[in-house]
Amino acid sequence: MSILVDKNTRLIVQGITGHQGSFHARRMRQDGTNIVAGVVPGKGGQDFEGIEIFGTVLEAKLAKEANASIMFVPPKFASAGILEAIDAGIEVIVCITDGIPVHEMMEIKERLREEKSWLIGPNNPGMITPEEAKLGIMAIHAFKRGHVGIATRSGSLTYEIGYELTRAGLGQSTVVGLGGDYVKGTDFIDIVPLFENDPDTHLVVMVGEIGGTDEERTAEYIRAKCSKPYVAYLAGSSAPPDQQMGHAGAIVSQGKGTFQSKIKAFEEAGIPVAKYPREVKDIALELLK
C-alpha cells in the first residue's frame, strides 16, 4: 500500500511537449510510471514518443481512463490547467509550476473545498511511491520501497532526508513534496490522516519550514488523533525574523509561524524534532526498533 499514487496510477502529463514536460515525462516513464497520455492544447492527435497527446484533460481521461495528472505548465496558465483537471475529475493532480499568483491559488483553494480532487503543490518536486509511480521531478536513486511516509515543504530537503533514510535501510511508502508556496493544494494537516490510515506506513517524517501555521495545527492534530510515530525536521533556526528567504511561505508574520512556535508545537505533541537532516534517520531507526 501507499497513499494517493501506486502502480494503478494512470498518469496524464499536462504540457508534455514543453522543455520540462518532455524531459520529465521521459524520466518518469524510465522510472516506471504508467504515463497514459499527454495533454497540450491544440496538439490533440499528435504523439510524444509513443504517448498519445490530447487537446484537453477530459479527452485524455476518457480515452485512457487516467486518474492522475502532473502539470509542467508556465505560471500564467497553471491555474487554468489545475481547474481543467479538477473539472475533469482527476483524482490526484500534481503541479510542479513555480510562480502561480497567490490570489489565483486562493480561488483554487475555494474550489478544492467543494471537490474530491487532491492537488499536490504547486512549486514542489512532486511525489513518489518508490518502485510503483513517480509523479514528479525527483531523482529516484534517493528513494526505495519501504514503510516510512515523508511529507515535506522543501524540495531540496526531500532528497537529502529521503536519501539518508534509504541508505539507512528505511525505504518509503510514499514521499510527498507539498511545495513551498504560501497557499498550497495540500498541507501536512491534509496528508497526515492518509499516512495514519495507510497500513504500509509505519512512521511519518515531516519536513517543515518557518511561516504559516500548518506545523502547529498538524502537531495538535497528531497529538489528538494519531497513534503512529512521527518525526519532524524544521529548517530555519538561523533565519532572521521578518525576512523572506526564498519561499513566500517562509514569511514570518504576526507572531505566528516562527521556528520557535513550531518546535514548541511539535514538542508539546510529543513529536521528536531532528536538529539536523541526518538526525531524522537516527530518530526514525530508534522509534522503529
Binding site: 510562480g99 486562493m106 536519501y163 497557499v183 530555519g236 538561523s238 509561524g257
Partner: protein, 378 residues
Amino acid sequence: MKLYEYQAKKIFKDNSISVPNGTVCSTEKETGDAFASVGKGQEVILKSQVLVGGRGKSGGIRSAQTVAEAVDIFKELMDTHIKGFPVAKVLIEEKAEIRNEYYVGITIDPTFYRPILLISSRGGMEVETIARESPSALGQYILNPRYGIPSHEILRLIGELGISKGLSMPLTDVVKKLYKIFCNYDATLIEINPLVESSDGRLIALDARLNIDNNALFKHPELEELKKDFVDNKETYLKEKGVDFVYVGGNVGLICAGAGMTMATMDLVNAMGGKPACFCDVSAGINPQSMELALRTVSSLDGIQSILLNMFGGLTRMDEVATSFIAAWQNMGGISLPAVIRLEGTNVEEGRRIMKENGFEMFTNLYDAVQKAVDLVR
C-alpha cells in the same frame, strides 16, 4: 514586491483614501520647494522612503521648522541606511493634527488561506506588538472571497473595539476601498498604520504599506513603472538574475539550491561552529552566468573565509552544476578563497568526473562538507 510609502499613497489617493498633502523629493531643490508648497512655511515632516518597517524608531522620520532645517535633514536622511536598507527618496508631508490613531490591514490568513481583515483601536505600533501586548485591541475577520467584506462585519469589529460610532461610516469606507485595492493589485499585504482621525474628524492614512505578489506582477504592467524609482538594491538585482540572496553577515559563503536546503545548510554551519555569510539560492536556474554572479557576490562579501557549494539535485542536474561552476570559476580567473563542493543527486557521477578533471575535490556527504568549510575559517 514592496512599494515605497509614497507609491502606495499614490494608489490610495487614486482610490479615494485620504492621505496627507505631500511631495516626494530626490534633491535639495525639490526639498526646498516642497517646504514652501506642502508646509506653507510651517512645520513639515520628512520621511525616509525605505523598504523596511520601524523606520520611526531608527530616526527615519523627522520634522523641520525652516527650509534650511528641511534641506539639512533631507541630506542626512538620504545618506543613512535604515536597518541596512538604503533610503530611496524623502517624502515631505504636512504635519497632521492627530486626535486618535488606528490600524487597518488586510493580508492572507495562513490557516484558512482566505483574506483576513485586521482592525485595531491602537495604531502607530507594529500589529505584531498590538497582537502580543493588547490582543483585545485587535479585531480580525476572515472573509469569504466570494462576497468580499460585508459592512456589518466591519461594524461588528468597530463596535467590539470600542471605536467611536462617529467613525463607523468613514472607517467602513476605508476598509472597503483597501479590500478593493488588495484584490485589484494582487496584494499580499495592504496596511494603514496609523490611520489617524484628524482634529476635524476625517480619517487620513498617515502611513501606507502595499506588498504585491511577485508572481502576479505580469498582470500589472503599471507597476513596472514604479520599479524605476527603486534604489539600487543588490537583493532585487540578484533576484531578477535568478539568484535569491540575503546577506546575513558571517564567514562561510554559501551557494545552494533550494530554499529549504539553503536554510538547513545555514543552520548546520551555525551548529558546527561557523557563521553563514548569506542565504544564496541559485535553484531558479543554474548556468555559467548565474553561477558566476553568485560566486562574485559571495566571494566579495566582507569577512568571508570559505565558500561552500551545496546541492542535492532532482530537477537540478549535477553535471550541469559542475559545468557551470567550472565555467564561472575559470571565467573569473579563479578565486583566492577555498571552495568546498558537495553535490549529490541526479547525474552526480558525471558531476564528480567534471569536478575532478578540473582539480576540485568533491564531497557527497553534507556533514563532511560543512565540517570542511567550517574548519577552513578557524
